[in-house]
Amino acid sequence: MSTVRSGWGMPSLTFTEALRHALRDEMIADPAVVLWGEDIGRFGGAYGVTKGLYAEFGPLRVRDTPISEAAMVSFGVGAAMAGLRPVVEVMFTAVLTLATEVLLNQAAKTRYRTGGQWYAPLTVRARCGARPGAGPVTGESYVNVFSGVPGLVVMAPGTPDGAYRLLRAAIRSDDPVVFLEHGALYNTRGEVAAEDGGYTGQARVLRSGRDVTLVALTAMVPQALAAAEQLVAEGIDVEVIDPSTIFPCDMETISGSAKRTGRLVIAQDWPLFGGIAAEIAAQVHAVADLRVPAVRIGPPMIPFPSAVHFGRSVLPTAGSIADGVRSVMLMAG
């Protein structure tokens, strides 16, 4: 486990900076860590995450690719099997779908189908998430497409601290990880603590509370924390949990919290059918006697509309999340 650091203490970093530090620290610690993706070299990546890494590590370890998502990820699986730790950047999840075969059939199954002889320590990073103005393709997250495939890990941290620790853990893990970076989080800022090497998928309790368990997926984390602050004045004490890893998901932490509070609200910003929010609700209900049924907050089952005012109206906000919490507090039970 690496203890190499970039020489900073506990600064406040943006999510983007935290990712960049994680990549850099892993590349310093381990020469097997190699990056490739579209425009990640001199350009620094479509979202600026890899800025400076090409200058520092050179063109063999930071490579620009043509538009070839399936090959980019497939080379990643093969190179990982043969001893590298590739970190492949795919621009956004809508085009990550071009590598779906490779992720689901190749990356996820390498260890199992070879009886443990080969494995694929590959990390695939992609921006996910809707924002007003994005539209029906770039505004999709497709988290469900990649989650729930045995052998594949899906991470989606909600804070800069999570971004740093989880990306380092993803790279260091011997399992293939789809690492989702919600676009709305890139410019959020937070304190980033030292990376302690102990991360194995634990959900993060960001705010302790007594009355209701509020599970927030990726970009809903800042909204959930803001909602919790709003509700203090109404005497509602909200426990906010960031699962951080969507699959496999730390249900024990979430269930434990829900058993104590008796109320569960889950917020995500992609359409609600199936997927992690439904899974959490089902699993918690199976083990916990909740006072009221779990509530899931999310956009309707429509493609994400491009008009800015449409987008604003369908995405959950701190206000709509607070309303959801108020509704479970008001329910009989």
Partner: protein, 336 residues
């Protein structure tokens, strides 16, 4: 085995023939086991295509990587995998190469740098190119070989991979085993322009077509391609032209090609062809040929006995090798 006059003691053709005979015997044994219900019905045998496997693998050294297809048994044998543990895998035994979790199409052996067969047509090319990329960081000149099919040349991943492997000058050889059919679809309905080797030029790499039923010819072309890759000259495309005497898979109900066409292909059977050539040239005698056949059959008899006699994999095995890290969220449910 005493060699007749006229044959050099190092006659590589006898070695190639020996391995082809073992592949043939393996496939016949495996087919028999499926008919008797010892192994599952779904199996893709490579009878008639043995020369490609032996010619390719004879060009490799131990550190080189090999990625294969759904029709992988011959490639596995030619690379040196043990027929006992191959059949054990097909038969769901604990001592199968993949601990009974991969089956016929996923046979792999890390100790031989054999990355495995693959269900997905075309998948092998990207994996091999990735392994080749890793080799460039290590130095030492190991190359990767992707066995693939003429059907794969129509896939997107084939196009993407050859383009990028060429741009990055990767030490990889793409071997297209053109057996003329993808299930029922003949090559004239698959490959626009009809010439797979010619596509190499479009990817900025050398391409060569070779008689895939002549293991020496395959070996010669492979040696050139492997040397090129090993010395930093980048990838090559080799189109080995053969014929799928076998059905596509054990459940194939046929009806899409003439018996006359298949019979004509049997006359070009690589084992038949090489045996007759060696006999004609006095490089081998009939006794020696029979002995080689018997050796292969004896190996496979023992392998089948081993597979059938070894224990079925334990259910506890089923829930292992999903992940390497013990993720806290990964509670694997047991099946009752």
């Amino acid at each position: 085995m005493r060699l007749p006059p006229g044959a050099s003691s190092g006659d590589q053709r006898i070695g190639l023939l020996r391995t082809m005979l073992l592949i043939r015997s393996f496939e016949e044994t495996a087919i028999d086991l499926t008919r008797r219900g010892v192994t599952p019905a779904d199996m893709h045998d490579s009878i008639g295509q043995e020369a490609v496997a032996v010619g390719v693998c004879a060009a490799l050294r131990p550190g080189d990587y090999l990625a294969s297809t759904h029709r992988c048994h011959g490639h596995c044998i030619a690379r040196g995998m043990d027929p006992r543990y191959m059949l054990a895998e097909l038969a769901g035994r604990q001592q199968g190469y993949c601990k009974a979790k991969g089956g016929s199409v996923n046979l792999a052996d890390r100790s031989l740098n054999m990355l495995g067969g693959n269900n997905i047509v075309g998948a092998s090319v990207g994996l091999a190119a990735g392994a080749a990329l890793a080799s460039t960081f290590r130095g030492g000149g190991d190359v990767a070989v992707a066995m693939t099919t003429e059907g794969a040349t129509s896939t997107g991943i084939f196009h993407e991979t050859l383009n990028l492997a060429s741009l990055w000058t990767l030490p990889v050889v793409f071997v297209v085993e053109n057996n003329q059919y993808s299930i029922s679809t003949p090559i004239r309905m698959q490959v626009a322009g009809g010439n797979i080797a010619a596509r190499a030029a479009g990817y900025g790499m050398p391409g060569a077509a070779v008689d895939g039923n002549d293991p020496e010819a395959v070996l010669a072309v492979m040696e050139t391609a492997v040397d090129r890759a090993r010395s930093g000259g980048g990838p090559s495309l080799v189109e080995a032209r053969t014929y799928r005497i076998a059905p596509h898979w054990s459940g194939d109900w046929g009806g899409y090609r003439d018996d006359a066409e298949v019979d004509a292909a049997r006359q070009r059977d690589p084992i038949k062809t090489l045996s007759e050539r060696l006999l004609r040239e006095g490089a081998i005698t009939r006794e020696v040929l029979d002995q080689l056949r018997n050796d292969a059959a004896a190996t496979m008899t023992k392998a089948a006995e081993f597979a059938q006699g070894s224990p079925l994999a334990d259910p506890a095995e089923m829930v292992t090798d999903v992940y390497g890290t013990k993720w806290v969220g990964n509670a694997v449910a047991h099946v009752h």
